[in-house]
């Protein structure tokens, strides 16, 4: 039996623990890792401002402008964002040099939205061994969703495989006895799509009558289209980059051949694919999207896109609003701000990763209505929903429900 005093002290300590637990959230101790302080959060980034992929550099500029807006509004929990962005010229050795500079010389808290599959592959091992978050990488390869082997790396946009699975699901539902032909680029981009389609079709993969690949160095793919037509499929999946997408749509029309065509989200641009292919040839082509299109008038009264537009007018005057990179940069920057807000006063790298993996139904202003960001300790693919769209007139028309296609690397 306990003595009276012991009982009393036990009761007292229980009460104390309870009080601490309740007040804990309000008086949480401020915790920082390198790169965060009471006044500032240092964010590192690399972008191809020069070199072959320099058109993506606009994403970095959009992010910089977005963080400036956040700072003008008072920052995040009173802390200003110090966004340090360097040029890697889309070259892996330069990416390693610049990221090491960010980590070891500038001492950033995390590396945010580095762009390109080769650059990200080059820095992934380094950042994971140093336990520095590689947040929301700007590439669609599937390998970023690998929480087990690379717990410090997380993707953002839908992976190519998720997108391909969505096309497979759509076909099984709408055209269950389709004879499918696939034209894909012979690299990891094309192969990710191919794998996603086969996984999505499952047992029905036997409906694929032809898999035709082309090299990105080929000047034209007309001969491949002629060969595919000879196999007489009624569905053509166009897993190409923009230039070849336009060629495919044009060539099928020239051959007077009208299969059901589905083209990748990468090549769904009105300006750089549909217009060169000829609007009359592109009628009825299908694709999928996850973000709103800044050039599309149907979003003119959308509250999210109004905010986006106001942001551009104030912080990036003169920007060309039809450029998809502006929509992308805004959305991904908004996601980072959300994560940092969730971190509160615990700005450790571990907590940043934990919060990035705890996003629930987050909807940035620029994503399609219904597309939500969800992550968990095992799901490192923030956006995995898309909606089908059909080309009509001179723009895309969304149709059908929001479809989900989660893919785990393991």
């Amino acid at each position: 039996m306990l003595s009276r005093q012991a009982t009393r002290s036990a009761a007292f300590s229980t009460a104390l623990i309870a009080t601490l637990a309740i007040s804990g959230s309000a008086f949480a101790q401020k915790k920082y890792d390198t790169g965060a302080s009471d006044t500032e959060i240092k964010i590192g980034n690399i972008m191809p401002y020069s070199g072959p992929a320099s058109s993506y550099g606009l994403i970095g500029k959009t992010e910089e402008a977005y963080f400036k807006m956040i700072n003008d509004q008072g920052g995040i929990n009173g802390r200003k964002i110090n966004f340090i962005t360097y040029d890697d010229g889309y070259s892996p050795p330069k990416a390693v040099e610049q990221v090491r500079k960010l980590v070891e010389s500038d001492e950033v808290l995390l590396v945010f939205n580095p762009l390109g599959t080769p650059s990200n592959s080059a820095i992934q091992k380094y950042l994971n061994s140093k336990k520095i978050p590689q947040l929301f990488v700007a590439t669609g390869a599937t390998k970023w969703n690998d929480a087990k082997d690379f717990p410090w790396t997380i993707g953002w946009q839908p992976s190519y495989q998720s997108e391909a699975q969505i096309y497979a699901k759509f076909l099984m539902k709408e055209k269950p006895d389709a004879k499918i032909a696939i034209l894909y680029q012979n690299d990891d981009f094309g192969k990710d799509y191919l794998k996603g389609t086969k996984d999505g079709l499952g047992a029905k993969a036997s409906q694929i009558v032809l898999e035709e690949s082309y090299e990105v160095s080929e000047p034209t793919i007309d001969s491949h289209i002629v060969k595919i037509k000879a196999a007489n499929p009624d569905v053509l999946l166009i897993y190409t980059t923009p230039k070849f997408g336009a060629q495919t749509i044009k060539k099928t029309a020239e051959l007077n051949w009208k299969p059901l065509q589905i083209i990748t989200n990468v090549s769904a641009s009105v300006g750089s694919v549909m217009q060169p292919a000829g609007f009359e040839n592109a009628q009825g082509v299908l694709s999928a999207a996850y973000a709103k299109d800044g050039a599309d008038s149907q979003w003119d009264n959308d509250p999210g896109m109004k905010k986006w537009s106001a942001f551009l007018d104030k912080y990036m005057p003169g920007a060309n609003k039809t450029d998809g990179n502006l929509v992308y940069g805004y959305g991904v920057a908004q996601t980072l701000v959300k994560v940092l807000q969730m971190c509160g006063d615990d700005l450790t790298r571990a907590n940043v990763m934990k919060q990035a993996a705890s996003l629930k139904d987050f909807e940035p202003d620029t994503l399609l209505p219904g597309v939500k960001i969800n992550t968990s300790a095992t799901d490192f693919a923030p956006i995995s929903q898309l909606q089908m769209q059909r080309f009509k007139g001179e723009k895309w028309e969304l149709f059908g429900p929001i479809i989900s296609g989660d893919v785990n690397t393991n």
């Binding site: 401002y49 020069s50 070199g51 072959p52 962005t85 360097y86 040029d87 010229g89 889309y90 070259s91 892996p92 050795p93 390693v96 040099e97 090491r100 500079k101 980590v103 070891e104 010389s105 599959t117 080769p118 592959s121 080059a122 992934q124 091992k125 380094y126 390869a141 390998k143 012979n186 690299d187 990891d188 981009f189 090299e215 160095s217």
Partner: protein
């Protein structure tokens, strides 16, 4: 030789450099060496990494210097040799689990053979025509590396991740610092060997071909042999540099070895002074640090700023670091006389 070709090959880039002027004096060399040995102790790992890259690109520029400054042949294809060296090391390390130090001589030998074989057909070309042929090699290489046929070994567009070696013998040294000293030892070895090569009979043959091919052949120099040999040696050294680069960066991918790398190396050679071997290090520093400086001045116009800086260098000191060094030497000599 047509008149046009005469004009082209008479570019000042391959003017006769006396072989004594190709190196630094012993005293100066020791000072530079001491600085390279001591500096890493006082700086952060990131700076050590940059210094390692400085040595590696320095080696690649040195290789081009032997080819152009030594034997008078142009090459815009050094990135291809660099890539072959990098991939050889990476594949041997990751697929055959070979020790990183052993992969380097193999990378060198493979590249030597590759360069020698490429030099054979390239023999018939000179001046800008040779530059274009090597240019074709540089543009083809990244695509060849992506080919499905090799993908099992090269990893295709995804590239290969390379494991960074730890310091051996239980040395208490960071990976970066170990790799730096490792690279330094190899660089010094190659530098000394290169100087000796250029001072040897073969080196004299190279220079004779550079200065006047017809005269050289009349003197009994086997022009075909020495021209291809120069290509082989240059490619071999570039291959070793590529292998070291792969280990330092811990990653190889086709996009790392585009024509831009070849042009950077060419740039480094010109800035360092064609035919002046110590200038390779200066040229390497130029191609690593000046783009960063340019970016610091203006992010949006970094390319333009870089262009202006490059223009200033070419305009003010057309012979690169060699000219600066010579002027400095003369001034120093005058001061001592007084």
């Amino acid at each position: 030789m047509s008149a046009v070709e005469d004009v082209v090959t008479e570019a000042p880039a391959v003017e006769a450099v006396p072989k004594r002027a190709m190196t630094l004096g012993l005293g100066t060399s020791l000072v530079v060496l001491a600085a390279l040995v001591i500096a890493p102790i006082f700086v952060k790992n990131f700076i050590i990494f940059q210094m390692t890259m400085l040595l590696i690109y320095g080696l690649a520029v040195l290789a081009l210097n032997i080819l152009t400054g030594g034997s008078g042949q142009f090459s815009l294809g050094q990135s291809a040799f660099y890539a072959v060296g990098a991939y050889t090391s990476a594949i041997l390390m990751e697929h055959a689990n070979m020790n990183y130090a052993l992969t380097l001589p193999i990378a060198g030998i493979v590249c030597f053979a590759f360069g020698y074989l490429f030099g054979k057909p390239a023999l018939r070309l000179s001046g800008v025509y040779l530059a274009l042929a090597t240019f074709a090699l540089a543009t083809a290489m990244p695509q060849l590396l992506k080919l499905g046929f090799f993908e099992h070994w090269t990893g295709g567009v995804q590239g290969l991740v390379v494991t960074k070696p730890d310091a051996p013998f239980g040395l208490k040294m960071s990976q970066d610092m170990w790799l730096y000293y490792f690279t330094l030892v190899i660089s010094i070895g190659i530098y000394i060997a290169s100087i000796n090569l250029l001072r040897s009979r073969s080196g004299r043959a190279f220079m004779a071909i550079r200065d006047n091919e017809i005269a050289a052949s009349a003197m009994g120099v086997n022009v075909a042999l020495y021209k291809t040999l120069a290509f082989g040696v240059s490619a071999g050294i570039t291959g070793v540099a590529g292998g070291l680069g792969a280990i330092a960066v811990q990653f190889v991918a086709p996009d790392g070895y585009t024509i831009l790398l070849a042009i950077s190396l060419f740039l480094g050679m010109v800035v360092g002074g064609v035919g002046w071997l110590p200038g390779s290090l200066v040229g390497s520093a130029f191609i690593i640090f000046v783009p960063n400086i340019a970016e610091g001045i203006s992010k949006g116009l970094s390319g333009a700023v870089f262009g202006v800086l490059l223009f200033l260098v070419i305009f003010l000191v057309p012979h690169g670091a060699r000219q600066v060094a010579m002027v400095a030497q003369q001034l120093l000599g005058k001061m001592i006389k007084k």
